[in-house]
Symmetry: none
Subunit: 210 residues, 4 copies
Amino acid sequence: MGIRERKERERERRRQQIIVAAKRVFSDKGFSKATMEDIAKEAELSPGTLYLYFKNKDELYASLSLRILQYLIIRLEHVIGNKELNPEQKIEALTEAMFDVYEFDPLIIINMFHLQSSETLKNLSDDLLAEIETLSRKSLGTMASIFQEGIDQGVFIQQHPVAIADIFWALFSGVILWESSKKILDGKKDYLKDTLKVAFEIFSRGIQKR
Amino acid sequence: MGIRERKERERERRRQQIIVAAKRVFSDKGFSKATMEDIAKEAELSPGTLYLYFKNKDELYASLSLRILQYLIIRLEHVIGNKELNPEQKIEALTEAMFDVYEFDPLIIINMFHLQSSETLKNLSDDLLAEIETLSRKSLGTMASIFQEGIDQGVFIQQHPVAIADIFWALFSGVILWESSKKILDGKKDYLKDTLKVAFEIFSRGIQKR
Amino acid sequence: MGIRERKERERERRRQQIIVAAKRVFSDKGFSKATMEDIAKEAELSPGTLYLYFKNKDELYASLSLRILQYLIIRLEHVIGNKELNPEQKIEALTEAMFDVYEFDPLIIINMFHLQSSETLKNLSDDLLAEIETLSRKSLGTMASIFQEGIDQGVFIQQHPVAIADIFWALFSGVILWESSKKILDGKKDYLKDTLKVAFEIFSRGIQKR
Amino acid sequence: MGIRERKERERERRRQQIIVAAKRVFSDKGFSKATMEDIAKEAELSPGTLYLYFKNKDELYASLSLRILQYLIIRLEHVIGNKELNPEQKIEALTEAMFDVYEFDPLIIINMFHLQSSETLKNLSDDLLAEIETLSRKSLGTMASIFQEGIDQGVFIQQHPVAIADIFWALFSGVILWESSKKILDGKKDYLKDTLKVAFEIFSRGIQKR
DNA sequence: GATGAATGAGTATTCATTCAT
DNA sequence: TATGAATGAATACTCATTCAT
């Protein structure tokens, strides 16, 4: 391994170290209450160092989304690559994959949310924005191809597969968001998993031809 | 009308005046970029006055959501009160009602989702939180009763009606959220209405017994 | 006195209070070492209040120049208005006036200097910039009219009076700057007054016809 | 050439390399906006290396002035060494020399005046300060000797020659300073050369006996 | 009640300088 | 010598909130 490559690897390690710390702090305090100093402390680095790896707070935050999207795509491709599953079973596998993604980082939806604000978008570099868009599009496309398969085989309703993928994703994020706010409002048990399960069942029934 | 009552009415008028101004400013700038001074100016009042009517910025913000919830409940009760509709038709009416709510104030719906983020909810006073909870529960209950009817009549699948209502609401908010974020990232056309229509069709098919 | 007028007066009083404090702190520490907090403390106000009266640090600093220019113009107009003096005597009076201005605020030259940086200029509001330019032009014009008089009467050399005024001003500021740096380099006595006297004598001789 | 000497020469080459880079960057961005990293990049060195050759940013900055002073002295000595010129002609030659110095590096002259501001001078090491003082004194002494000659020959007014040299230098720097600031404020044409010419004429007339 | 001037705690970001390699 | 990653102190500016009038 060349010296250049070793340095690159070292650099990537640091980025991850910061991202992991940032994830912890953001989860704990939310975006605005979390300070760069908090994150630096958590990462056992100095505040200045954070800026050697991320342009600003918004970009560090957005980078978390990137990481999740990458994980999501890996999971999705695994589902799509499994030739033994019929479309219906793939929906099930997809559901499981989404739940894993959620567990990998429960912040996922809040992140996506935050990203919406145009004030935030202005602070991101074009590169990062482009990458997010690419990954986002790719994950949606992968989902869509699962639905396409079902449509082709005549088991799913005739609808644009991207639209179906959108709805699938919307349902997923809507449930997470809604359940988490119910949890706070009621102060009660966490029904997320159950609700998600029912939601996907309904969805699955809804898109299947009779 | 007693003097006490007149004062009370005057006070309510002011609250509304502030809420209307706040709605405009929050919609325009987003929560964190909007300042209390912005809102005061828009309402043609002084910053200090705002605090005579709302404990703090978070509460003012949350009050906007109350207004939507109130409108939502009115619409829902109208649906449930229509004895001539069968469950399936009620779902349709419900869908229309949700459209109306969205159109009543599209931006405030986005804001409301922001409210759901735990970060914001944690800053509210117990009173306000309780009120939101009440209205929230009430609207959910009303929705649930529609589904209950369908279950009782054997046309909807056997599922806890509150869970179904949760999913319905989650789907609605998820689609709005997802479509608006897609719009920002892609900078492309607004497919919200179409997507929402398909989403509700799928949902409707999904909850009906075959 | 109306309430509006009283408020305006009060506001002006505050501005002056801040300017006086700023002058002290800037003189003491120089521009970059002086912090807004230092100035706030000196003015017995909070940092935030400074920003109610001045847009930013650069603008507060530039405002000091404004004050001096105003004083300078008053002194110059007094010189020009004295009908009993012949051109030569007016040069003498002018010299004295300049020295008074210097004593009124020794920072004057450093200020002018600082103003030069385009980085600084970018931070100033158009209004302030315009006002500085106006006053600057006015003071130069007043000086020029003194020289014009001498030229008209045939006692001064034929040269554009504005150019002469420029040189007069340049000589003044150059001497102040140079002497102050010599003082630091040598750590010795302050010869400013003497040097200034000789400089103006030479200048006076130099512009007179033989 | 011994190894020690070769090393010394190498070291000097590096210093010059840095100085040249620093000159470019300081001229471009001004003292405070220029960062050590900018300079390092321009010199194609690492930031750390700069500190092997210069104690700190201020010293690096001050070193630029040394370079101008050295050039100035060379030019001055050339003037004084020309035995064929009478005092009056020497003033002319001196004026031309100053022009050349200005043209040798117009921006650095501005920088040098910045250096004169006490704020900067106070941060220099004693060694550097002493060197600047020496060169400064030497150049002033050389100028003074020219004026001394004129006084001795009875063609210049009776004044301390060092004082006259001070004034000459002050006039020179003052005009540069003033004209450049006028140019920025007005955004108009560059009259520097004309003004400088008239200034020196006036000066020359002013110091000559009638 | 209404005002709006004043507050002052809070924080992202920069950059000269260091030091392990 | 040279490097350049890491440091961390330093600071302008904001804005929710208060309170004397």
